[in-house]
């Protein structure tokens, strides 16, 4: 278990663990459910040591039944608890799709009962997980009114967004990127903080081309920005952080400044969040655009396993550089 330590760098994974620990200490209504999260500490060890600290019932190992335990979390949430459910991998969220979209998402709208529920979904590729351990399922839920979706890219955002999600009165799916777990580190403030849901963040300011992205792709965009700066092209990297509700103003503000936009995600291209952002820009920022809106995304295939296939599948820094150069020429 990781406790907040001022001055020490923590990983993205430790930041998630800290947020859970601090929220469980702060609010006794908060409890955890999931597969192998108890004595084992979870497939990624996010809840290591939690059961010793909080007991068997607040760190509840469940049978292998995603629909069952998400449904149970919904029931507990309606009774005033604050459940945080761990999907072992985001891919398995498909088993709970019905409970999430039909029960959790529609509950408050239909009959006014809030469902303050958090579902943590470790998602994304680049970890040789193959078709069932690498998915980006956010697109499925992007189209289900009543859910909030967040996807942090840094330890700071990971901690602050998870705390905000736990304190939110609505069902929130928290997409945590597996590739970032132990690769990204930062020093975090020692005092309590949250990142408000619904607020994007400009991770790098630039004047020439906007890249609108989230999750692990933020880091790819930042790498591309470094390379492009050498050629005199200034990339602005807009990290959405929250997918629903989308911070439309932040997107418009950036694109009105640069006049050029690239959407970037590792989810499949068709019907992805990039498509929605593109449509919004066409509707709201047409007069500011100096070039076509470009979408960089994974092809419309499942996530393949073998290294050359997965490398082909995932967006690359070179894709961003090429798109930005093309746009800069307009």
């Amino acid at each position: 278990m990781t406790t907040a330590t001022a001055g020490r760098e923590v990983t993205y994974l430790e930041a998630i663990s800290q947020a859970l620990d601090e929220e469980m200490t702060r609010d006794e209504r908060v409890f955890l459910m999931g597969e192998d999260i108890g004595p084992y500490g979870g497939a990624f060890r996010i809840t290591e040591g939690f059961q010793q600290k909080y007991g068997e019932w607040r760190v509840l190992d469940t049978p292998l039944s995603e629909s069952g335990f998400v449904g149970a979390a919904i029931g507990a949430a309606m009774m005033g608890m604050r459940p945080v459910v761990e999907m072992q991998f985001a891919d398995f969220i498909s088993c709970a799709f019905d409970q999430i979209t039909e029960v959790a998402a529609k509950n408050h709208y239909r009959w006014g009962a809030p469902v303050p529920l958090v579902i943590r979904a470790p998602f994304g590729g680049g970890v040789h997980g193959g078709p069932f351990h690498s998915e980006c399922p956010e697109g499925w839920f992007f189209h289900s009114p009543g859910l909030k979706l967040v996807a942090p890219s840094t330890p700071y955002d990971a901690k602050g967004l998870l705390k905000a999600a736990i304190r939110d009165p609505n069902p929130v799916i928290y997409f945590e990127h597996k590739f970032l777990y132990r690769r990204i580190k930062a020093v975090l403030p020692s005092e309590d903080f949250i990142i408000p849901i619904g607020k994007a963040d400009v991770k790098r300011a630039g004047s020439d081309v906007s890249v609108i992205t989230y999750g692990a792709m933020v880091h790819l965009a930042l790498e591309a920005a470094e390379l492009l700066a050498r050629d005199g092209i200034e990339l602005e990297v807009v990290d959405l952080r929250t997918l629903i509700p989308l911070d439309k103003e932040a997107i418009y503000q950036s694109v009105r400044k640069t006049g050029k936009a690239i959407t970037l995600h590792e989810d499949n291209k068709t019907g992805g969040i990039g498509a929605e952002v593109t449509a919004l820009l066409a509707e709201e920022c047409f007069d500011s655009l100096d070039g076509p809106i470009m979408r960089i995304a994974a092809p419309d295939t499942p996530v393949p396993f073998s290294t050359p296939l997965e490398e082909f599948f995932l967006p690359k820094v070179s894709d961003i550089v090429a798109a930005a150069k093309k746009l800069a020429a307009y």
Partner: protein, 333 residues
């Protein structure tokens, strides 16, 4: 025990109160069906006709702080929990005064203040939800219980399995009812499952189960009371299969021609209201006068409800946009 002897074990006042709810449920749903036939109700009408003893029985066995997660044959349970006939008709008419303010129709209503979890069309979805309600009670050390109900068809879904299993593993204070009315829409029991009785399914979860006559009010009530007491005492969940018959179609648009007429004739004789009246008379708790008075009372209440609902305003179009998300103020501790 003989049926009459069983009835004698229930207090007179409780029996008469439940009899009133049987009649109110029947009268209300008959009235809604009539409104539907007159074209005054848009959308589907799903009734519990002939099955009222199940929902009235289990809901009457609960304490005020307990919770129900009913399904669409359970109008009696909604009424016992205090949802009024006026609210129900308003819900059917899509009025702003219905429990969902026009957002949802027919029996898809709930109200946490009265301990009713809203029903979802996807049958068995509310079973895992009920286990979570029970889990919250367990986590907080409260001696409260939740009762949920689904049909025979609903027990074929994965959510039934996942809920039963989880509840049994964690000994949660939940009682699972099954309204076995022999048809899931047009699909007869034999094409729904290979086991003879639905209760056989409980064995797989290590959960005690029993079969009761779903048309016998006292039998349902007593079975519910035993299971609820057990759950409240921390002894875990129970599965109760109520044998009954769906006397109408799946919904009122469905003529149910696929159900043999003889079967319906046979079950008509076992009508739960008829049975209750026979028993109440035999014990000497009530007579024809009582039945007539109750009949007049429920007719009056239903008519007042229809009037209330018809006078109620419809929602305005832009109200569509309200309530997708909850606000912090709604659940401050």
């Amino acid at each position: 025990m003989e049926v009459l002897e069983t009835w004698k074990t229930v207090k007179r006042a409780d029996l008469l109160q439940m009899y009133y709810y049987l009649r109110l449920t029947r009268a209300l749903e008959d009235r809604i069906t009539a409104l539907y036939r007159q074209g005054r109700i848009v959308g589907g009408v799903y009734t519990g006709n002939g099955m009222e003893a199940i929902s009235v029985g289990y809901a009457s066995a609960l304490e005020r702080d307990d919770i129900i997660a009913p399904f669409h044959r359970d109008m009696g349970a909604f009424l016992v929990r205090g949802i009024t006939p006026g609210e129900v008709v308003a819900q059917y008419l899509g009025k702003r005064t219905g429990p969902t303010k026009g957002k949802d129709g027919n029996v898809h209503m709930g109200d946490l203040k009265r301990g009713v979890i809203g029903f979802v069309s996807h049958l068995a979805d509310n079973l895992p939800v009920a286990t979570g309600v029970a889990l919250a009670f367990r986590l907080r050390g409260e001696s409260r219980v939740v009762v949920t109900n689904t049909g025979d068809g609903g027990t074929s879904r994965g959510d039934f399995h996942e809920a039963m299993n989880f509840a049994a593993v964690r000994k949660l204070p939940v009682v699972f009812f099954c309204n076995n009315n022999q048809y899931a829409y047009s699909t007869p029991l034999g094409l729904q499952m290979a086991v003879k009785d639905v209760v056989d399914r409980a064995k797989a979860y290590g959960m005690p189960g029993e079969i009761v006559d779903g048309n016998d009010l006292a039998a349902v009530y007593l079975a519910a009371r035993r299971a609820i007491q057990k759950a409240r005492a921390g002894e875990g969940p129970t599965f109760i299969e109520c044998k009954t018959m769906r006397m109408h179609g799946h919904s009122e648009h469905d003529s149910a021609k696929y159900v043999p007429r003889e079967l319906l004739e046979e079950w008509k004789k076992k009508d739960p209201i008829l049975k209750a009246e026979q028993m109440l008379k035999q014990i000497g708790y009530a007579d024809e006068n009582t039945f007539r008075e109750v009949g007049e009372r429920v007719t009056k209440e239903v008519e007042a409800g229809v009037e209330f609902a018809e006078k109620s305003p419809l929602p305005e179009g832009p109200e569509t946009l309200n309530g997708v998300f909850a606000t912090d103020e709604e659940i401050k501790p």
